[in-house]
C-alpha cells in the first residue's frame, strides 16, 4: 500500500482500569478524508494525542510515510509533517493573526534560535504565512489581534497555522465544533480543498459534515475500532447503528 501516509498499528493506552484505546489500527491514505467517529469517551482524543506524541502509548506504533515515530516527541512529529488543529482553539491570543501564521512557518523552517533579525520582516516566512491565511480566507484579518477574532475565525486560523507547516497529514480535532451553519459550510468547503494538499484524519461530531466530507469512516467505541468503511457501508452496518447511534434507531 504505497499510498498510505499515516498509519497506527495496534495502539494501546490505559488509564488505570480504563482502556482508553484498545488495539487501534488505522491508516490514512493520500488524498482522502478519513473521519473518526464515536460516542463521547470513546477514546478519540486519546488516540489523537497518541498520534501527535503528546501521550506515550503503552504499546503499538505510529508510522508516518513508513517511518516509525515511537519515541519521537510532539515537536519533532510536527516538524516531520503532522499538522494538528485543536478541539479548543490553541493559539497565541496576544499575537496577531499573521504572527500566529508566521509562527507555524517558522516551525516548519526550523532555526528558531535567531535573535537579531526581525522575524516579521522575513519575506519568505511572511509570504508563506500570508498564503496560508489567504487559503483559509483570513487575509484581511492579518493585523488583527487573535483574541479579537470570532470563534469561527479562530478555527480557520488553526487550519491556516497547520497549513504553514506544509504537513504530510492533517489531524483535525472537531474543527466544526461551535460553528454556526454558515461557518460549518465554509469549513466543509475548506477541508474539501485541503485534502488535495494532504490527507485529513478528522474527528468530528457533526454527522452531516462527516457524511458529506469523508471518504472513509472509522467508528471507535470503548477504545476499539469496531468498523471502517465508506460512508455508505457505515450507514447500513447494523452493528454500528446499534452500538453508536443507539437503540432508538430501529435496526
Amino acid at each position: 500500500m504505497t499510498d498510505v501516509v499515516l498509519n497506527t498499528e495496534r495502539l494501546f493506552k490505559s488509564f488505570g482500569a480504563l482502556k482508553a484505546t484498545n488495539d487501534v489500527s488505522l491508516d490514512l491514505r493520500k488524498g482522502e478524508i478519513h473521519a473518526l467517529i464515536g460516542p463521547n469517551g470513546a477514546g478519540k482524543s486519546t488516540l489523537i494525542q497518541q498520534i501527535t506524541g503528546h501521550l506515550a502509548s503503552d504499546s503499538g506504533t505510529v508510522r508516518l510515510m513508513d517511518e516509525d515515530l515511537t519515541g519521537v516527541g510532539p515537536a519533532e512529529r510536527a516538524r516531520k509533517g503532522l499538522g494538528r488543529t485543536f478541539q479548543i482553539s490553541s493559539l497565541a491570543m496576544e499575537h496577531t493573526v499573521l504572527q500566529n501564521a508566521v509562527l507555524g512557518a517558522l516551525g516548519q523552517r526550523g532555526n528558531v534560535m535567531s535573535f537579531f533579525k526581525p522575524v516579521m520582516k522575513d519575506t519568505q516566512l511572511v509570504s508563506t504565512a500570508k498564503a496560508a491565511l489567504a487559503q483559509v480566507g483570513l487575509a484581511e484579518f492579518a493585523a488583527t489581534r487573535t483574541a479579537d477574532l470570532s470563534h469561527g475565525q479562530r478555527r480557520q486560523l488553526e487550519v491556516a497555522v497547520a497549513l504553514t507547516l506544509k504537513p504530510k497529514a492533517f489531524l483535525m480535532d472537531e474543527p466544526m465544533a461551535g460553528l454556526g451553519l454558515e461557518g460549518a459550510q465554509q469549513m466543509i468547503g475548506l477541508l474539501t480543498e485541503l485534502r488535495k494538499e494532504a490527507p485529513i484524519l478528522l474527528i468530528e461530531h457533526d454527522m452531516d459534515a462527516v457524511f458529506a466530507l469523508a471518504d472513509r469512516i472509522s467508528v471507535l467505541v470503548y477504545g476499539e475500532v469496531i468498523a471502517t468503511g465508506t460512508p455508505e457501508e457505515i450507514k447500513v452496518n447494523p452493528e454500528i447503528r446499534r452500538a453508536y447511534l443507539g437503540d432508538e434507531v430501529p435496526a
Binding site: A75, A92, Q108, V112
Partner: protein, 327 residues
C-alpha cells in the same frame, strides 16, 4: 510614534537628564542615585526577558545578580592584593579591567543560569517559583558560610575598577558607562523581542501546546531565555558591586529577587521599558518615603498592593493602555 514610545523616550530622558542637571548643580549624590536606578533597571531588563516575555516567574534571580557581583569582587580583590586566583592547573590572575570583569560576570552567571534553568524548567507554575527560590537560597547560604571571600561580611575593594579612557571614580563618568550599557541591553532586548526567538518564546508563554504542535520545544526556548536573562542580570550585578565598591551575600538574598520583580511590576510586565520606569520610581520612593517615617515600609507595601490590585500593567499599562500587537 505610539504613546508607549513617547513614555519610553521620556523615561530615558529623565534618567539621563537628572544626573546632567545634578552635575551642573554639583549634587554628586543624585548622580549616584541615578546610577543605581540605571543598574537596577538593567537587572530588571534581564529578568524581564524570562518573566515578561517568557512567563517564567523566577524568584531566584538575585543568584545571578550576586554571582555577577562576586565575579567583580573576587577578580578585583585578587588584583588589589596581587595574588592569583588559582595557579593549578593554569594561572588565573585577578583584574581591575571592567570589560574583562563584565565578560567573566556574564559568562559565570550564564553558566549558573544554564544549570539552574535546566533543572528548574522541568517544573512549572508555583513549583518553578519555589525551585528557583530554593536554588537562590542554596547559593545565599553558601556565600554566607564560605569564609574565603568574606562570608557575610562581604568583600570590599578600595577603588572602582578601570575602563579604558575613563575615570570611573568620577560619578558622572561611571553613570555614563552604566547608562550606555543599559541602552545597549534595551536595544538587544528590543531585537530579541522582534526576532524569531522572541516570537516563539512569547507564544510559548501564551500557549505551550501551540508551540509544540508547530514543531518547537518550549523547554529549549525557555532555557535559552533564562540563560540570556541570567547573563544580563549578572552584568548588572557586576556594575552594582562596582558602584558600591563592595559585594556581600545581601545581593543574593530572596528579598533582592523580590525587589527586581517589583521594578518590573511597577513599570509593567513584558514592556521593554517596564524595568527602567520601575527602577526610577522605586529609587524615588525609597528616598521620599524614607524621609516621611521610620515605618516607611508600611507605605511601600500599601503602594505595591495598590499597583498589583488596581493598576494591572504597571505604570506603562496605566498610561499607554494595552500593549500593541506589533509586527
Amino acid at each position: 510614534m505610539t504613546r508607549e514610545t513617547w513614555i519610553n523616550v521620556a523615561a530615558l530622558a529623565v534618567l539621563l537628564g537628572v544626573p546632567l542637571w545634578a552635575l551642573m548643580a554639583d549634587e554628586p549624590f543624585i548622580i549616584t542615585l541615578a546610577t543605581r536606578a540605571a543598574i537596577f533597571a538593567l537587572a530588571g531588563v534581564g529578568l524581564n526577558l524570562a518573566l515578561g516575555t517568557g512567563g517564567l516567574v523566577s524568584l531566584g534571580h538575585a543568584a545571578f545578580f550576586g554571582i555577577g557581583g562576586y565575579a567583580m569582587g573576587i577578580l578585583a580583590s585578587h588584583a588589589q592584593a596581587y595574588t592569583p586566583i588559582m595557579e593549578v592547573p593554569f594561572l588565573i590572575e585577578g583584574t581591575k579591567s571592567m570589560p574583562v570583569i563584565w565578560l567573566v560576570a556574564m559568562v559565570t552567571s550564564a553558566l549558573a543560569a544554564l544549570a539552574i534553568g535546566a533543572l528548574s524548567l522541568r517544573t512549572s507554575g508555583v513549583y518553578f517559583i519555589m525551585i528557583t527560590l530554593a536554588f537562590g537560597q542554596m547559593i545565599y547560604y553558601f556565600a554566607i558560610s564560605w569564609p574565603a571571600y568574606g562570608g557575610e561580611d562581604g568583600l570590599s575593594i578600595y577603588v572602582r575598577n578601570e575602563f579604558p579612557g575613563l575615570n570611573t571614580l568620577v560619578p558622572m563618568q561611571f553613570f555614563g558607562l552604566c547608562f550606555a550599557i543599559l541602552c545597549l541591553a534595551l536595544l538587544l532586548m528590543n531585537a530579541i523581542h522582534k526576532s524569531a526567538f522572541g516570537l516563539a518564546l512569547s507564544a510559548a508563554r501564551q500557549n505551550e501546546t501551540r508551540v509544540l504542535s508547530v514543531g518547537m520545544k518550549p523547554y529549549h526556548l525557555r532555557l535559552v531565555a533564562f540563560v540570556i536573562s541570567g547573563a544580563v542580570t549578572g552584568l548588572a550585578g557586576a556594575l552594582f558591586a562596582d558602584l558600591n565598591r563592595f559585594v556581600s551575600p545581601t545581593m543574593l538574598s530572596w528579598q533582592m529577587s523580590g525587589e527586581i520583580i517589583i521594578f518590573i511590576i511597577i513599570g509593567g510586565v513584558g514592556r521593554l521599558f517596564g524595568p527602567v520606569i520601575g527602577a526610577i520610581i522605586f529609587i524615588l520612593l525609597e528616598h521620599t518615603l524614607g524621609g516621611l517615617s521610620e515605618f516607611w515600609h508600611v507605605y511601600l507595601g500599601a503602594l505595591l498592593l495598590g499597583i498589583v490590585l488596581f493598576a494591572k500593567g504597571g505604570v506603562i499599562g496605566a498610561l499607554a493602555g494595552r500593549e500593541k500587537a506589533h509586527d
